[in-house]
Amino acid sequence: MNETAETTPWPIAGPLDLARTALVVIDMQTDFCGPGGWIDRLGQSVENTRKPIGPIAELLAAARAAGMTIIHTREGHRPDLSDLNPVKQWRSRAHGVGIGDETPGGRALTRGDPGHDIIPELLPREGEIVVDKPGKSSFHATEFDQILRARGIEALIVAGVTSDCCVQSTVRDGADLGYDCVLVADGTNAVETANHEGMLAVLAAHGGRWGAVRPARSVIGLIAEAAQ
């Protein structure tokens, strides 16, 4: 946990307004953090990407108790792969398991495939929004921004995987668009530890360029306080 990031205020423009804050849980899918999913089938360990499950479960409980807007995202493509760009397809094949390819283990990152589902521990509940996205940024080619605007959301609590990919892209674009973002430090992780640690250091640059970084207990405390 970087001390510089800890000192960056969040929220920065006034007290926490739960009606204008969303909890965004990114891509906690079997493909990234479950047995038999894409990462597992690539021969990489899901040990890191499973670490945030506990803190995210606690965040979800706090957000549900407070009646907050909760949004879950899933990275994946239409079954006909019409939204899979050729570069992404080529690289995924070079990496070992092509996105959308028919394999005995299923079709990686493809909507409707079991691996695309959110893991059982963190399943969305009725009334919670699920955004399916074909890219890394939750804002790319989705309704995400329209959903936030329709709900009057101004601040984002961001957790999920992976910190170096979809989580970081979403925090960066969110900050550019004027959302007050806090990244939950123990609510995110990456397959490669060096990337995760490097990403946290980057986000802390110049006092927190894109927002704050906080442990889950700190964010949960703020939610509980604001809910009273």
């Binding site: 960056t8 920065i12 423009a13 760009n85 050729p86 570069v87 992404k88 080529w90 690289r91 995924s92 070079a94 990496h95 074909p134 890219g135 890394k136 940024s137 790319h140 080619a141 101004e154 170096d164 990919c165 970081q168 892209s169 960066r172 674009d173 900050a175 550019d176 668009l177 004027g178 959302y179 007050d180 490669e192 060096a194 990337n195 490097g198 990403m199 250091a201 980057v202 640059a205 110049h206 006092g207 927190g208 360029r209 927002g211």
Partner: protein, 211 residues
């Protein structure tokens, strides 16, 4: 137009299609503005890019320039403005203010689009995506400041759009310790999840037909 051989880049030879030309490729110089160049000590980077820029122009290639800043009539989003005002370095400047201009050696030529963007991701709130689409650009060679800032944010967005990006390792700089290495690693991991990286000389070699 000439078709060039792939560039000797990591983790694979760029572009993945096996060749490129000035019709399907663009050189994007991001935010080489006076204050950012001074804060990051990027004068050597600027000097190193000039011969490539000359060669790219001589070949009739498409050059794009990023220029970060906010319209003083508009300002920044409220939260962004508060965070921007709180930091001593890497500030988003008002358009037209001291330090905002692109440095002279890399100044845009007439006809080269300048993308004025208020945040890091140069695709947000600009016509960059539209310009690239209209020109039929598939491949981007990227240089700029800061490595972990506008350069990486813009490459991430380009990647989501399906553009094949090459980041010039010695064509980008930052004052954040460790930032350069982190971004190079995140760009290349996962068989090039966000693209490839190469030194400027590797692109020059491909342009010279020696690639």
């Amino acid at each position: 137009m000439s078709r060039f051989n792939p560039v000797a880049s990591r983790p694979y030879a760029w572009p993945y299609t096996g060749g490129w030309s000035m019709e399907d490729s663009a050189l994007f110089l991001i935010d080489f503005q006076n204050e950012a160049v001074a804060e990051t000590g990027a004068d050597p980077v600027v000097s190193a890019l000039v011969p490539l820029l000359d060669r790219w122009r001589a070949a009739g290639g498409f050059v794009l320039h990023g220029r970060r800043g906010f319209d003083p009539l508009v300002g920044l989003p409220r939260v962004t403005a508060i965070r921007n005002a709180a930091r001593p370095l890497d500030r988003i400047l008002a358009r037209g203010s001291d330090g905002w201009e692109i440095v002279a050696p890399l100044a845009p030529h007439p006809g080269e689009p300048v993308i004025d963007h208020a945040g890091d991701n140069a695709f947000i709130g600009t016509d960059l995506g539209f310009l690239v689409e209209q020109r039929g650009i598939a491949n981007l060679v990227v240089a700029g400041l800061r490595t972990e800032g506008a350069v990486h944010a813009t490459m991430r967005a380009a990647n989501d759009l399906g553009l094949e990006c090459l980041l010039l390792e010695d064509g980008t700089a930052t004052d954040l310790a460790g930032g350069h290495e982190t971004i190079m690693n995140i760009t290349r991991f996962g068989s090039g999840l966000f693209g490839t990286t190469a030194p400027i000389a590797a692109v020059e070699a491909a342009l010279a037909g020696a690639g």
